[in-house]
Symmetry: C2
Subunit: 254 residues, 2 copies
């Protein structure tokens, strides 16, 4: 069985500092672990209850470097969930370098200071569904390997490449190369009737502050999702995950 | 200041049984409490730190029956949040009777066994934004007055009427009256190219099981949100709150 030191080590991966040092992150939950195994991604270690391991078709273990058995109580100790499932997987962080030449060829999402892990996970999930491969986060966005982000993304992390990068530099490059920057702003134009390109950057802003002033001036196409409520203004809002779903859907349906 | 018994009483409202007996529910958090006060809704009691109360414009208290001062430690005791804010409001549950004659005149949402409070709150929020007034939940949906639902709906509860009702009976009535029932199903037709009415029922199903078999046969217009991911099938999914946002947006943009 698993050693006490190893348990402490896995638990320590809940901290960003340790994850960044070790270049490892943790995926938790039976369904999502199965999806990661099935995806063919290299898995550094599968840590699971014996029943879970024996329930797997042998083919699913071919990309797993190490299989570690763990008891429920030990799993509880290393888990970031209130009620742990039966398995977790430890994965190597991919070492990604952003290739800016993609920006002119496809749709890319840029996120300005997204703070809530659930929102980042939801946006990744929506990007996965709507076939958007690249997401570029400002350095002050929540960490993609935060357990709550991984949880909320529900496996969509597997085919989405997330980068952290200075958005202003990126937007200067985009401006110089006439790549459109679509931004969701309260004062934008209704998205339903705007012409939308098949290439460009979709910028989504912070949950409460929206897009920062510093970045606003680079937006070439300000967009908004019209509100249909008959109630007084100011009460309704869409959260950024819901807004992302609608915006991605609008870009894709055309 | 507030008595110990009163604190226990407010805390007890976290339980559905007690809420239903007392016909009261609790709204928590500074922003949402301010929104409820500003909306003109009758507030049974405002329970808040003295600083919060004195910061309110006097006009906001005109529909408040009782104002109770509370300390931070006491608030912590009655709060359903890990980190409580400065105020909560206790409200009377509205006594709503569903008038089925509305079904033929506008868009209504029907929810089949939505279990996650965050999802129900998100759907209410999306309905608020897209101007859908009535939501009919199957009796096995999570309770609308569950603190997490109230939190996630972010004040949209104020102009959305939520009912709990047997959906099969409702759908029989709709069928008899030729009211369309739009259902989101994996095997539905792409929503982008379907004709969508301005009236009818939009049915959303359970998070993992989708729409139950019993209800499926009443669907007159099966819909789906096309998936644009190039990755293999089966990994991607949209959660029901994201799907609701896209579906409501599609109905409204036409």
């Amino acid at each position: 069985m698993i050693s006490k030191n190893r348990i402490k080590y896995i638990e320590s991966l809940q901290r960003k500092k340790i994850r960044d040092e070790e270049k490892l992150y943790v995926v938790e939950g039976d369904k999502i672990v199965r999806e990661f195994l099935a995806s063919g991604a290299m898995v550094n270690s599968l840590v699971a209850k014996p029943e879970f391991i024996s329930s797997l078709p042998p083919g699913l273990l071919k990309n797993v470097k190490e299989v570690e058995e763990i008891s429920y109580n030990e799993l509880k100790q290393v888990s970031s969930l209130k009620t742990p499932h039966n398995a977790l997987a430890i994965l190597d962080m991919p070492d990604r370098k952003l290739d800016v030449s993609i920006l002119g060829n496809e749709l890319t999402v840029a996120l300005d200071f997204i703070q809530d892990p659930g929102n980042l996970g939801t946006i990744i999930r929506a990007a996965g569904w709507f076939g958007i491969k690249n997401i570029i986060c400002s350095p002050d966005c929540v960490d993609i390997y935060n357990p709550k982000v991984v949880q909320a993304s529900m496996g969509a992390m597997l085919h989405t490449d997330v980068y952290y990068s200075d958005l202003e530099k990126l937007f200067i490059f985009a401006s110089d190369n006439e790549i459109p920057i679509f931004g969701t702003l309260l004062e934008g134009e209704p998205i339903y009737t705007r012409e939308l390109d098949k290439q460009g950057i979709i910028l989504l802003g912070n949950e409460s502050k929206g897009v920062s002033e510093r970045l606003k001036r680079y937006i070439t196409d300000p967009l908004m999702i019209p509100r249909f409520s008959k109630a007084g203004p100011g009460i309704d809002s869409l959260n950024v995950g819901m807004a992302a779903s609608v915006v991605f859907s609008e870009f894709r349906r055309r």
